[in-house]
Symmetry: C2
Subunit: 522 residues, 2 copies
Amino acid sequence: MGKRRKGKLPIARGPNAVIVTAMRRRKTRQAADSTHSWSVLRHPFEPQSIFSQDRVEAIHQAALDVLQNLGIKVLLPEAIELFAKHGAAVSGDMLRIGSDMVEAALASAPQSFTLHAPNPARNLPVAPGQLIFTPGGGCPNVSDAIRGRRPGDLASYQDAVRLMQSFDVIHKLTPAPEPQDIPVHLRHYAMMQTQMGLGDKAVTVYGRGRQQVQECFEIIQTALGLSAAEFSDAPYCSTVINTNSPRMLDKPMAQALIDFARTGQMCIVTPFCLAGAMAPITIAGALTLQHAEALAAITLNQLAKPGAPVMYGGFGSNVDMKSGAPSFGTPEHIQMSIGSGQLARHIGLPWRSAAGAAANTNDMQATHETVMSLWGCLQANATMVIHAAGWLEGGLTFGFEKFIQDIEALQAIAHLCKPVAADAAAIGLDAIEQVVPGGHFFETDQTLNNYSTAFLEPINADLSNFGTWQKNGALTAEARATAKWQAILHDFTAPPGAQERVGRVEAMIARFTQAGGAPILE
Amino acid sequence: MGKRRKGKLPIARGPNAVIVTAMRRRKTRQAADSTHSWSVLRHPFEPQSIFSQDRVEAIHQAALDVLQNLGIKVLLPEAIELFAKHGAAVSGDMLRIGSDMVEAALASAPQSFTLHAPNPARNLPVAPGQLIFTPGGGCPNVSDAIRGRRPGDLASYQDAVRLMQSFDVIHKLTPAPEPQDIPVHLRHYAMMQTQMGLGDKAVTVYGRGRQQVQECFEIIQTALGLSAAEFSDAPYCSTVINTNSPRMLDKPMAQALIDFARTGQMCIVTPFCLAGAMAPITIAGALTLQHAEALAAITLNQLAKPGAPVMYGGFGSNVDMKSGAPSFGTPEHIQMSIGSGQLARHIGLPWRSAAGAAANTNDMQATHETVMSLWGCLQANATMVIHAAGWLEGGLTFGFEKFIQDIEALQAIAHLCKPVAADAAAIGLDAIEQVVPGGHFFETDQTLNNYSTAFLEPINADLSNFGTWQKNGALTAEARATAKWQAILHDFTAPPGAQERVGRVEAMIARFTQAGGAPILE
């Protein structure tokens, strides 16, 4: 083995110490790094395939067969009527949906649109090829190294939104952890106030019944100072539609598919097909079921209003056959993502997938699962990667340290979205000429001109050598992440305009509250 | 949000308990899983690009310019003579190498060959499109949770080889941790005895001077019962050739390039170009330097013997400009891998890249870095991914827990190499028909027929829910990995034939030792 220089490089000796000193003295970037332009990303990689094109077509046809011949159960009478009116065969709550209805829906669903944010600079193009990261959503619990694991409450939800707002690479806000200390009939007000008051990114509304949804729409419209026409002309919020796999669409989800469409707001259709449990044990079978359910939901959405903004999607993985527990970051999860991407491209719609971890704590398993599944989403060219940061225990917990560590991966991917220069200046033969054999490049003009921006600075990695690391307390990535989120929360200020926006809806929310709030549709 | 069932699934209730019981009672697979056929893998994904084809050509031309006009320093007189004899311009130890010489070398280097292992079932096809994983190599130290971090010694090296041998997804043996308790002039005997006596996979020989190399060749030839002609007719071992970037080839590396070629053994050419330190700060510049150095080394190798088995390669990443420390798993590391892959395909040779971690302990950073860089190698279609398991501190330490955790990722990737069925049986409309809306698939014929093999079983993930995990001691992935490697070492037996092979060379090694061993070429 050659004299490969590892560990301590000769950077601190000689004139190159200039750079080291400059880099070390350079005002450390804010913990929350907003020096990059990561608000809009496009996939840097070509999508990969697990199926030949004829197999994609076969799965699509099989899904149409499922809808036409086996049918789907829909629990909301209003939805059944809508389906029936357009030709579905109804038998009780079982619907058989013809492929003509599905094809009409796929024809009317837009291939691309813009999801608006309170801050227009945060508007998100939603179209195949775009890359949108959203943090872990739907978590009932919250966890951090200071306060432990506990049920989500409003204070922790507010903190989570502060963290989400603090990183450009997080493109929209999600509802996690769940503020369980607020009664469910009032919780949507608190969640809107939190998102609007602490952030300026696109917001999420839960589809928990018509009244809650309509009130949230009113809140957003008023906060942003939009007319009803302006609001319904473009999506200003989104909701995730989970089917109840297999082959069932419950009342709140069906209601949201209708109500979001009619008001021009965005639905993210997401069967949660765990192969071996709520879906067939084969990847192709689970994807067939996912596809059938997604097509049914998209059809209902487009029947309610042709042209409504809707994303195809799936969150497919497998269960551990020993315990029945959901797994994430597995090869099956990755295959489900890639196959979903092929089906999404087959029908030409933007679509969502998901990263995520089953791990119970901030350990190697947790990062393994999220990073593996994140790369699955990249191989799949998912338009939106949900649960990309902070998701532990298969979504039962939003972890603050996990959130910080996951940002490391997302920022790396965002950096990969930038083109790599290879013009004559980037190749830089003069730099190579300047350095004698066995020398170093710390002092070349090319280095001196580029050292401060050439590389992505990590946010949580400790790159010091073992001795230094030990001397500094042998902190793990988890411990460093704790310091990081604490610093962010300590320094956080709401973005410009947020307080004004939330101020505009105070009276409205007081009135709604006075009137008794809004029940969740069961 | 719909009634998404998370956490505990209904698997343990009702008749589906049959599967659970069967799965739980099923004899747990050996910790070291040899039920899969992962001995030979091919890349499942298409290679990605960071450069357009004309930029790849420009970098190739720039590298030829470097060799022709700036030259490379070669410290071994025998190598200088060989270059000079074939037309290189020599000025002291500086050589200027014409593109005709490089092109002749690229024409004679084989596109594909087989690296032989002591067990022919472990032979490795080395060709573009293959996927070979090798564990962390070159580490002076070793670390595990029981004995802590310490200098490598023979006992820990033997244990590491036992671990490497125990997983099919590890395709060859590497030298780590370094057995520092054996004097350097005798160490190569101990390393050969360890690899041959405990394993049956392809072995590594360090290029530390002619005498050591020739002795290792004799040992392998004798152990495997090969004639001299048989041995030199095909590679039975490999060595990594690190250039001393920038633009220098030291004595032992130049010697090994010559000696391995002349005996038909395999060189893995590896400039270690850390952008911003020993290489230009730009990706394109660092790759230009890497390419120039690799081409020079390949040229020397092919001058020594046209047609000798050689891999192109690079291990490129960036340094942290604050500390000068090498970084791994960064976007720059991934870009260097992808760009290297483009250059490798441009010259049509199999090639090596590397995963790896800078982290000092088994935390989220460690897994982040290795898994991110592993996916970089996959995007790049690297023929051989070195340091794919167990590499900590930028290679200064071989970690047993890290090794186990990294195997989780490698096995997942290996599983992704298998095609995914999507025939009518895999789509399985009958299974979907068998399950009522809202039901589950635990009892379908499809599930009952496939449950034991459908999914890859994790080796280190704990998928139990938080309560169960806590009740079972709240073990981290690191703690579980400790139990795992301990169990493997406890149960380990050397593969058939290993003792016989090493027995054949006992007298030879005693004789070499008696004669005073072999010094390292400085």
